[in-house]
């Protein structure tokens, strides 16, 4: 691990250089990371050791941002980079929309509390976990034909400082493992998936819970599943799908950069009722889940944000720029993939608050499709039309599970479906994932409980 804590003078001098060159505001993110990725595909291992050191610097001038990055983090490298960021802003600011920004300042040092720091766990132990999951997956059934287990950890140390006096020193630790298992019977092929990830160290994998067998069992069970029907149905979503719903169909629309650029269906809807009483959606970076951050990538202390409360839109996710332009202030929602990308408005841990139903009550008298597990999903931001595909599903008749279904897709319009959510269970659970926006990937968590929705479009084959 590179020692960043001794760089305060260099960082502050680079920020002064940016101010002297004409920036109205400048900030810097200095990052150093150590990580390990291990994959095992049908017994073949690949081990990737990752070390990064670099800095990204932004300069703000009358509504324009210049951003530059460097891997040379000595005094001269940082100052040169700061000067480049200022020249970029100067080259374009005359063609920018003019606005000013409000920047709250923070000074703090925070560290993720972990029991087993990944940098102090041997590769052999990490590989042992991966190979154990592989074995569990293969042992799920004779028809398991191929397995793929991935493991990634990172210890990320960041200094975030700006020309308004912010100086935040944060160390984040994250670990995740994923199992993808394929099964084959005759010409039929199916796959199963399970992931487990948190802002934790290696202790995450010591609880005995396995992902390999779960994914393997799912793949096997899908071998005799039927294609999903298409048409209009009532639906029950499991926690992983309702979590993706919160993230994809609603969360992205609540990002304030989309509000400003005119690409969100939630523009102009603050304080309006856009969903049923049953619906409360929260983004909370302070939870110790995979999307955790104590400070955002603009050095703002993070907090829990209730975006939608009992159907009423409360706020957007904002960063310094969008919070200033919308008059809402920043609520600490800026994130960057790495030092070499500028922070943009992002979600963290996003979820539906649980309701007061028991699962059995949800299914009572229900006929429709019960969706389980998430494959992928996406949204058309300007219309709010979205779709996501489940791993498996069941046709349900009068509360009884009937046909087991594969590859069922659900599509709806966000502003319509939020009114159609009529029941949510008491049990909240979370799934780790990776979210892509503007070419940047960030670790996220999505969460929810079981949720019942009326009248959605189901697509099958």
């Amino acid at each position: 691990m590179q020692e960043l804590s001794e760089k305060r003078d260099d960082v502050e001098e680079a920020l002064s250089a940016a101010r002297e060159r004409g920036a109205q505001f400048a900030d810097i993110r200095l990052e150093s990371s150590d990580g390990t990725s291990i994959s095992a595909k049908d017994g073949i291992t690949k081990i990737n050791s990752s070390n990064e050191l670099g800095a990204g610097i932004r300069a703000f001038l009358e509504g324009a941002w210049g951003f530059a990055y460097t891997t040379e983090v000595d005094h001269r490298g940082l100052t040169d980079c700061a000067e480049r960021a200022v020249s970029l802003a100067k080259a374009v600011y005359e063609r920018a929309e003019k606005f000013s920004i409000e920047v709250p300042a923070f000074e703090d040092t925070v560290k993720t509390a972990v029991q087993r720091l990944p940098t102090q766990v041997s590769i052999a132990d990490k590989l042992g976990y991966v190979l154990r999951q592989e074995r569990e997956a293969k042992e799920a059934d004779k028809r398991v034909s191929s397995t793929e287990i991935g493991y990634t950890d990172i210890v990320l140390h960041k200094i975030i400082a700006n020309s308004e006096g912010t100086y935040v020193d944060e160390t984040v630790v994250r670990s995740i493992a994923r199992a993808m298992v394929f099964a084959k019977e005759g010409a039929l092929r199916q796959s199963g998936y399970k992931a487990k990830g948190d802002s934790k160290g290696f202790e995450l994998f010591l609880d005995g819970a396995d992902i390999g067998r779960t994914a393997g069992t799912q793949a096997i069970s899908l071998l005799d599943a039927k294609p999903a029907p298409s048409g209009q149905f009532d639906a029950v979503l499991d926690p992983s799908l309702s979590g993706v719903f919160a993230h994809e169909a609603f969360g992205h629309a609540s990002e304030a950069d989309a509000i400003i650029s005119g690409t969100s269906i939630l523009a102009g809807k603050l304080t309006q009722k856009i969903g049923s009483e049953a619906v409360t959606i929260v983004d909370d970076p302070t939870l110790p889940s995979y999307g955790y951050m104590g400070y955002d990538d603009e050095g703002i202390q993070t907090r829990r944000k209730v975006l939608l409360e009992r159907g009423i839109l409360q706020t957007y996710l904002t960063d310094i720029e969008t919070g200033s332009r919308l008059g809402l202030g920043t609520n600490g929602s800026a994130r960057a993939q790495r030092y070499d990308a500028p922070p943009i408005v992002r979600m963290s841990n996003t979820f539906f608050e649980p309701g007061d139903y028991a699962f059995d009550e949800l299914l009572e008298g229900f006929s429709g499709i019960y969706f389980i597990g998430w494959q992928y999903g996406y949204t058309t931001p300007t219309t709010g039309m979205f779709t996501f595909k489940s791993r498996e599903a069941y046709a349900v008749e009068h509360g009884e599970l009937r046909d087991h279904l594969r590859d069922a897709a659900l599509s709806a319009m966000t502003l319509e479906i939020l009114h159609k959510i009529n029941a949510i269970t008491r049990t909240l659970s979370f799934d780790p994932g990776t979210c892509g926006k503007g070419g940047q990937m960030t670790p996220n968590t999505t969460g929810g409980a079981y949720m019942r929705v009326s009248d959605v479009v189901v697509g099958g084959i």
């Binding site: 005119g262 058309t380 779709t387």
Partner: protein
């Protein structure tokens, strides 16, 4: 430093790294790269930000008895990266299917991959390009919101391994994107267009106006009557559905994870359908003299007149099967070891001047975000942007419409291929009409 001088420096760093590898125990590969880029982003017609970045680094791949260790670092920390990769390779499991990294070979000469204009562009010019494409999209007073972006970049790479592979390459690339929203009263429509090229040769007006036209056409979406009907795939949708389905990595085939496993030599599509992976395509975005492990690039027919001819191979999967690599090892950046992926894909054009004129009732799919399930070959997905076709004409935009079909059925039901082709990123393809697809629509 010119790009040729840069290449020499990078190659020297690779050679220095490999000198640290004990070749009696290990096989090693070093990949070094240097790139820089400039970009600008426009929000509602005004500049929002500009960026520039220099990036360089080295990626080291070490094999010990087939166990792969990988590490990357900045160019100043080569020795550290080699040590990390060696210790990672020692921790993994041996793999008897691993034979060897590729041997040294002569590289073909590629063309159209470097443009001095791009290499000398400054941020102000790039910002102006983003402004110009935004202006070009304003073809009607209903065009309301325009967001756009432009970027240019250049890079130099070097690769070497302990079997004498030694290669360098440099390239340039420019890209442009525009996203448009049209409004009238409560109605709105979204349009977009992209362009990417190795040269600075954009037709900014046609890129902008295509996005504007799409936004206008996408207003007032309506459902269509559900049922089986002809579906016309725009080049963008051909990429998501057909090209994605038929480019199968040998890794997936060998692990029996693809619906095309074991089908080499079989007629999987109509005889008018041909798709080639062409790493040598002049001016192609993925064109280079060699792939990510230093294997010479080549032109590989994947489906030829309907017959499945090849999967995509890297050296590992080729050695495992006793065949030759197709030069399809690829890497996103120096942080990742190579993995198999297509280079430039080219689908052969057909004979039709107008693929929609004979459609009485059907749909046109401009884009979908869905992909076929690679293990089953089943496709079900949402029409992200599309239009009804009535009596040979494009009509209203589609609302909440899904389609579903088995790709093997789809490939046999291709009944019209346009004469005209379009290139989106690394795919060049005609527009394609499918005879009979189930379409479900509502709202």
């Amino acid at each position: 430093m010119t790009h040729t001088e840069r290449e020499a420096t990078l190659l020297e760093i690779c050679t220095r790294a490999l000198a640290l590898v004990d070749t009696s125990i290990y096989q090693g590969e070093a990949f070094a790269t240097h790139s820089n880029s400039v970009s600008a982003e426009l929000e509602k017609g005004k500049i929002k930000s500009s960026q520039s970045g220099f990036e360089s680094g080295i990626g080291i791949r070490i094999f010990k008895d087939g166990s792969m260790g990988y590490a990357h670092a900045s160019l100043e920390r080569v020795e550290f990266a080699v040590k990390q990769a060696i210790s990672a390779s020692r921790a993994g499991r041996p793999d008897k299917d691993f034979k060897s990294l590729p041997p040294a070979e002569r590289y073909p000469i590629v063309s159209g991959t470097w443009d001095n204009t791009i290499a000398s562009l400054d941020v102000s010019t790039v910002a102006q390009l983003a402004i110009d494409v935004a202006e070009a999209s304003r073809i009607d007073k209903r065009i309301d919101i325009v967001n756009s972006g432009a970027s240019v970049g250049q890079w130099s790479d070097a690769i070497a391994n302990t079997f004498g592979v030694s290669g360098t390459d440099s390239g340039t690339q420019a890209a442009l994107d525009v996203d448009v929203i049209a409004h009238k009263g409560e109605n709105s429509g979204n349009g977009f267009e992209y362009a990417a090229s190795r040269r600075f040769d954009f037709d900014v007006d046609s890129v902008g106006s295509a996005a504007g036209e799409m936004a206008l056409r996408s207003m007032n979406p309506q459902p269509v009557q559900s049922g089986k009907m002809p579906v016309v795939l725009d080049p963008l949708a051909v990429g998501s559905i057909i090209a994605a389905a038929v480019t199968v990595s040998a890794e997936d085939a060998q692990r029996d994870r693809s619906f095309l496993t074991g089908k080499i030599g079989e007629h999987i599509a109509v005889s008018e359908f041909t798709i080639v992976d062409d790493g040598l395509l002049s001016g192609g975005l993925e064109t280079s003299p060699f792939d990510a492990e230093g294997v010479p690039s080549q032109r590989t027919p994947l489906v030829e007149r309907g017959v499945l001819r090849s999967y995509l191979y890297d050296s590992y999967t080729a050695n495992k099967e006793g065949t030759l690599s197709t030069g399809n090892a690829s890497r996103g950046d120096f942080r990742q070891p190579p993995s198999i992926s297509p280079t430039n894909l080219v689908i052969a054009s057909g004979a039709e001047a107008n693929v929609i004129e004979d459609v009485g009732h059907g749909i046109y799919i401009r884009a979908t975000g869905d992909r076929p399930n690679p293990s089953t070959g089943e496709f079900s997905g949402m029409v992200y942007a599309g239009y009804a076709i009535e009596d040979g004409e494009l009509e209203h935009a589609l609302k909440q419409t899904n389609i579903g079909i088995d790709v093997l059925d789809l490939l046999q039901q291709i009944e019209g291929i346009s004469r005209e082709v379009k290139t989106y990123f690394s795919l060049t393809t005609p527009t394609v009409r499918i005879r009979d697809v189930s379409v479900a629509s509502s709202g």
